[in-house]
Symmetry: C2
Subunit: 319 residues, 2 copies
């Protein structure tokens, strides 16, 4: 079976680990990773979501933190502070830097981000085929208003420096309108037997992937059933600050509203948490088959059960 | 008093530390640093000699090693090995990497190496004005013949990987013929009250600086006395493998031969070690005033005594 999953960072990566544990031998998983979080720091190209997937599935992630490397050292960060060079709010450990150095050196040499990602995965062996959504530069910016006025800042600055404490007025995936899907992305969607939306951020992770021209249409017209898992439980994001960016795009922070936001033209099935069982009827009224199951990714087994439920729902909604 | 010193890496840096201890308050030291050892690694510009001077005078050097940073960590090097990306033979610690990241980012942004060096020195406060010999790329290559045939390799590969164990057939400062002295270099030489050649490598350190068009002529025609200190004691280099590169340019590994190699058109005074007192007469016969004193830089005080002797000799040969 060929499974395609669209994925952001921490939530997506943890779901994929459960998915790997749930699938049968021989099943193939292709991950289309969000690159809208990418940022250039110290002259290097940093791809937080791709790396989080790669490190998590490859056994190099800092487990508690959810991002960055295990057994990390922070010498460069300390030195940058001595040099007075920021941003101090973005944590890049020394081991992590090595990845960005390798990536940046390959990009400068003319390789595409797809090729670089494939090369990095030779080491990490994530057990999935990891594709960036696009080889073109896309950068999610957030419009805010604070004492400095109204302005657009990089998503990482909004998320990591400001902790989304300021209201997001708009989310703009800069460059997405002219970006092309990376090689293999549309083919994988077209050839998929199942397409999954992990409980990633619907706006700045999966939403950004869908904003690359051609990807949304490919998912909508795919022969495969499309099943998503709600990142919202009981009216709040399980992790992160999705409520802030949902509000910016006019979507309520509920499992039902996110399902309607994707819409029945895009998704066929939707899993909500048992706590949101009351939402099942309303989601189904929107033309999306819905089930309520436990959706907390407390460990790999619990996450694998979620993945199995998603795959079962896909069979139920298969046309 | 305005003192100009041409300097390579470890030997030059240690001499400069002694010189700083020897000069009077208000004396100004300008260091013209060799950049022929520079190498591009992992997409970054690495300037080993400039950094060794900067770290040594700024209090960040690994004392025993003579190069690199104190309290260093090696996470990136370990990661690069995991990625299968070399060269393994070149040791760049994590703290050191920060310097190369800052430098490379500034160079990419359009700043010159002079400007970058000045910016880095804002942190390091070396107590001297550190100028690269040139803002243009110059790279010392070494012609060797081994089982792979006759070929030119980067000086760092010859020195660090091969430990100069293969004969050097020629030393070529690639790019030197079209390089221009960095801003301030010729002015500093012209305005100097004393010009010093520390006991750096006469071929690949000071020789490379002199190979930048205009610098040799400026030193030769400078009003200031020029005094050098022999890096050769008792027929062998105190440190490093200068004998290999001296042989490549047809110069014997003796204190006298190095003085003659510089020549009386370039240097006015020459200090040899007490062990080479017998060479004084021959050096003076070549038109260079010569003194024999202890030349081992065992500690800062011993090195300061060498610097004082060099400054005294400069007064004696002042025209």
């Amino acid at each position: 079976m060929r499974i395609v999953a669209l994925a952001g960072g921490i939530g997506g990566a943890r779901f994929l680990r459960g998915l790997k544990a749930a699938v049968a031998p021989g099943d193939e998983i292709t991950v289309i990773g969000n690159t809208g979080d990418d940022i250039h720091l110290y002259g290097l190209k940093v791809c937080p979501d791709l790396d989080t997937v790669m490190y998590t599935l490859g056994g190099g992630i800092h487990e508690e933190q959810g991002w960055g490397r295990t057994d990390e050292t922070w010498s460069i960060k300390a030195e940058m502070k001595e040099y007075g060079i920021g941003p101090e709010w973005f944590g890049l450990g020394d081991r992590d830097f090595a990845t960005h150095l390798v990536r940046s050196q390959m990009l400068t040499a003319g390789y595409t981000l797809s090729q670089v990602t494939e090369a990095l995965c030779v080491r990490w062996k994530p057990g999935v085929r990891l594709l960036p959504m696009s080889d073109d530069r896309v950068e999610t910016h957030v419009r805010i208003t604070d004492e400095a006025g109204t302005r657009a800042i990089h998503f990482q600055e909004y998320w990591v420096r400001l902790h989304a404490a300021v209201d997001a007025e708009a989310i703009v995936p800069v460059g997405a309108d002219t970006a092309k899907p990376a090689p293999g992305v549309l083919d994988a969607i077209a050839a998929a037997d199942v397409i999954l939306f992990p409980p990633s951020n619907p706006v700045v992770s999966i939403g950004t992937i869908l904003a690359v021209p051609g990807i949304r249409a490919a998912v909508a017209s795919a022969a495969a059933p499309v099943v998503g898992l709600s990142p919202i439980i009981g009216g709040a994001p399980v992790r992160g600050m999705a409520d802030k960016v949902l509000t910016a795009v006019g979507v309520e922070t509920t499992a039902e509203a996110v399902a309607r936001h994707y819409g029945s033209d895009l998704i066929d099935g939707w899993l909500v948490d048992s706590a949101d069982a009351a939402a099942v009827e309303a989601v189904e009224a929107a033309g999306i088959t819905c089930r309520a199951i436990p959706l907390l990714m407390t460990d790999v087994e619990a996450t694998a059960a979620m993945a199995r439920a998603a795959l079962e729902l896909a069979e139920q909604v298969r046309r």
